[in-house]
C-alpha cells in the first residue's frame, strides 16, 4: 500500500511553473528520495506536502486520506512527521520537553488545564525512549538551545518520531553535518525506514544511495527520471540534468 501518494501536483508563481504534473508515491516500508539541482522546485514540493503552500491543482493523499486542503496541524494529526532544512526546535524547552510535547500532540486532548504536563510519566517515557533510540538520551535535561548542530538534527528527528508518524518528510537532514555525524544519521535512518516510510529530499549522494529504494529526479519543476538508485545513476536524462550539472 502507498502511504503517500502525490498526483499531478501543479503550482505556479506568476509566470514561473514551479511544479509541473508531479506524481510520486511512497509505499510502505520504503524510502523515496527526491533529488534535483537548486531551484528545481524541491522546497516548493515539500511546502505543498506539509501544507505551507496550496497546490493549484493535484492531490496529496496520506494513508488513504486526501490532505490536499488540510491545515498543517491536521496533516500532522493525520500522520505526517517532518524535519526542516534549517533546524526548528523549541529553544527554551528542555530536550525532553521538546519531544514530550510532540508525543502529547498524539496522546489525547491537550485542553487539560490543571495536571502538570511535566509529570505525565507516559509522555516522558515515550520521549525518553525516542531520545535513547537516537542516542541523545543523555542530553534530555539540557535546554535545546545548548545542543550542538548535529544534536539538534537528531532532536528534530526525535520530535518527528515522537508524533508516531505514518510518513517522515525529511528536508535535507544531512545539511551541515560532518562526515561522522552523517554516517551515524544514515545508520539511524536506515534502521527506521522499514518501520516508517520516508520521503527524503537530499543533496548527499552517499545518503541517497544507501537509503533510497526509489529516486525521483526533479528538474525545472518536472520529474525527468524515476527509478531505482542504480538505474538513476545510469539514466542519461538524470545524468545530464542533475549529476552532470553537479559536476560542473
Amino acid at each position: 500500500m502507498d502511504v503517500l501518494e502525490i498526483r499531478n501536483l501543479n503550482k505556479r508563481f506568476g509566470a514561473v511553473h514551479v511544479s509541473r504534473n508531479i506524481s510520486l508515491s511512497v509505499p510502505d516500508g520504503q524510502c523515496h528520495a527526491v533529488i534535483g539541482p537548486n531551484g528545481a522546485g524541491k522546497t516548493t514540493l515539500i511546502h505543498q506536502i506539509s501544507g505551507v503552500l496550496q497546490p493549484d491543482a493535484g492531490e496529496v493523499v496520506l494513508a488513504g486520506r486526501d490532505i490536499t486542503a488540510s491545515k498543517t496541524w491536521q496533516r500532522a494529526q493525520a500522520g505526517l512527521g517532518r524535519t526542516f532544512q534549517l533546524t526548528s526546535v523549541l529553544p527554551s524547552f528542555s530536550v525532553l520537553e521538546n519531544v514530550a510535547l510532540a508525543a502529547q500532540a498524539k496522546s489525547g486532548s491537550s485542553f487539560r488545564f490543571f495536571r502538570p504536563a511535566g509529570r505525565e510519566a507516559d509522555l516522558n517515557e515515550k520521549a525518553m525512549r525516542t531520545l535513547e533510540r537516537l542516542k541523545i538520551g543523555d542530553r534530555a535535561l539540557v535546554p535545546a538551545d545548548d545542543l550542538s548542530h548535529g544534536e539538534r538534527r537528531l532532536l528534530e528527528l526525535a520530535i518527528a518520531l515522537a508524533g508516531a508518524p505514518r510518513l517522515l518528510l525529511l528536508d535535507e537532514p544531512m545539511a551541515g553535518l560532518g562526515r561522522v555525524e552523517s554516517a551515524m544519521l544514515i545508520d539511524i535512518l536506515a534502521d527506521l525506514r522499514r518501520s516508517i516510510p520516508m520521503l527524503l529530499v537530499e543533496h548527499d549522494m552517499d545518503a541517497i544511495f544507501q537509503l533510497a529504494d526509489t529516486v525521483s529526479v526533479l528538474v525545472d519543476g518536472r520529474i525527468v527520471a524515476q527509478g531505482a538508485p542504480e538505474d538513476i545513476r545510469n539514466d542519461p536524462a538524470a545524468r545530464a540534468a542533475y549529476l552532470g550539472d553537479k559536476g560542473q
Partner: protein, 327 residues
C-alpha cells in the same frame, strides 16, 4: 527544585503580609493603606490574566482593560436589574466578558504580532466608546450603585464586610489557577506556540484554538477583577476601559517580569506604590513616571522578579526569551 520553592516562598510571604494587613494597619491608624492594597490586588488579578496572554502566550494585547470594564458593567447592570447574589453576577460578568473575548479574539487572532496589538487596542477602544454611549447606565459619567451585591443576603462580600479578604482569596485563586494552567498540557502548548509557532503547528497543534482559549480565559479572569472592582468602588465608569488602563496593565506585567510566577503581583504592588509615592511628592508625578517607563524599556529587560530575585529558574529563562522574541 530549590528555585521553584523560592518563588513559592516569595508568594507565601506576600500573601502572609497581605493577610496580616487588615489586622495590623488599623492598629497603627493606617487604614488608608488598606484601600491601596485593595487597588493593587485588583490590578494584580487583571495583570495575572494578562500575563497568561503576554508572558506565556506571546500575545501582546493592548485592550485588556476592556474585559475588566465589561465584567464590571455586566455585573452593575445585573445589579440594577435586580440580581443581588454575587455568584449570579459573577456568572453574568464572566459570560459576557468571555463572549466578547471569543468574538474579538477570533478576529484578532486571524493575524499575529503587531497587528494583534493594534486590533486588541481598537476593540478595547470600541468597548470604551460603547460604554460611554450607554445613556441609561450613566454614559460618560459612569454609574453610581446604591445597593451592592450580597452573598445569599450576607454582606460579607461588601465593603462593610470582608471584601478585602474576598479579594485576597480571589487573587490567590487566580494566581494558583494560572500557575497550574501554565504548567499543564495547555500551558505547554501555549508556550511552545509563543517560542516557535511554525514548529508547534507542525507537531499537530492548532495554535489558533489554544490561543483563542487562552484569550477567553484571560478575559474571564479580568472580568472577575472587574466585578470586585465594582463591588469595592460601588461605582462603574467607562474610564475603566480606557486604553491607558490597558497600558498600565501591560506596564505591570513587563515591570514584574513576563511569564514569571509572581511578576504580575509584584508589578501591581510596585505600580501602586510608585503612583502613591511620586504622587505624594508632587502632583504632576506623571512627568517622572513617563520617563521612568522609557528608561525601563531601554535598560531593564527581566522585570522586577529578575531584579529582586535574580536566580534564573526555568521560568525566568522563558521570560527572557519572550522578551527577546519578536511578538
Amino acid at each position: 527544585m530549590m528555585r521553584v520553592d523560592r518563588s513559592f516562598l516569595v508568594m507565601a510571604l506576600i500573601f502572609a503580609l497581605l493577610l496580616a494587613a487588615p489586622f495590623v494597619l488599623p492598629l497603627v491608624e493606617q487604614t488608608y493603606l488598606l484601600s491601596l492594597l485593595i487597588k493593587a490586588m485588583l490590578l494584580a488579578i487583571a495583570a495575572i490574566s494578562l500575563d497568561l496572554l503576554v508572558g506565556h502566550g506571546g500575545m501582546v494585547s493592548l485592550g485588556h482593560a476592556a474585559f475588566v470594564a465589561i465584567g464590571a458593567y455586566a455585573a452593575a447592570i445585573g445589579l440594577e436589574s435586580g440580581i443581588e447574589n454575587i455568584l449570579a453576577l459573577l456568572v453574568l460578568a464572566v459570560l459576557v466578558s468571555g463572549l466578547f473575548a471569543l468574538v474579538t479574539g477570533a478576529l484578532a487572532l486571524r493575524t499575529s504580532g503587531v497587528y494583534f496589538l493594534m486590533i486588541t487596542l481598537a476593540f478595547g477602544q470600541m468597548a470604551y466608546f460603547t460604554l460611554t454611549s450607554l445613556a441609561p447606565y450613566g454614559g460618560d459619567d459612569g454609574l453610581t450603585l446604591w445597593s451592592m451585591a450580597t452573598l445569599f443576603g450576607s454582606d460579607v462580600v461588601q465593603n462593610g464586610g470582608q471584601l478585602y479578604l474576598v479579594i485576597l482569596l480571589t487573587l490567590l485563586a487566580s494566581w494558583w489557577g494560572v500557575h497550574r494552567l501554565s504548567n499543564a498540557r495547555f500551558g505547554r502548548v501555549l508556550r511552545a506556540a509563543r517560542d516557535n509557532p511554525g514548529r508547534t503547528e507542525i507537531m499537530g497543534f492548532s495554535i489558533f484554538r489554544y490561543r483563542l482559549t487562552a484569550y477567553v480565559i484571560a478575559g474571564m479572569i479580568a472580568a472577575v477583577s472587574g466585578l470586585l472592582t465594582m463591588q469595592h468602588a460601588e461605582f462603574v465608569s467607562p474610564a475603566m476601559a480606557a486604553w491607558q488602563r490597558s497600558g498600565d496593565l501591560l506596564v505591570i506585567v513587563v515591570l514584574g517580569g513576563l511569564g514569571t510566577r509572581n511578576g504580575a503581583l509584584l508589578g501591581a504592588l510596585f505600580l501602586v506604590l510608585v503612583e502613591e509615592v511620586l504622587g505624594s511628592i508632587f502632583h504632576e508625578w506623571r512627568l517622572l513616571y513617563g520617563p521612568l517607563l522609557v528608561l525601563m524599556a531601554l535598560h531593564a529587560k527581566g522585570g522586577l522578579s529578575d531584579l529582586l530575585f535574580p536566580a534564573h529558574g526555568p521560568e525566568t529563562t522563558d521570560a527572557t526569551r519572550a522578551n527577546g522574541e519578536q511578538i
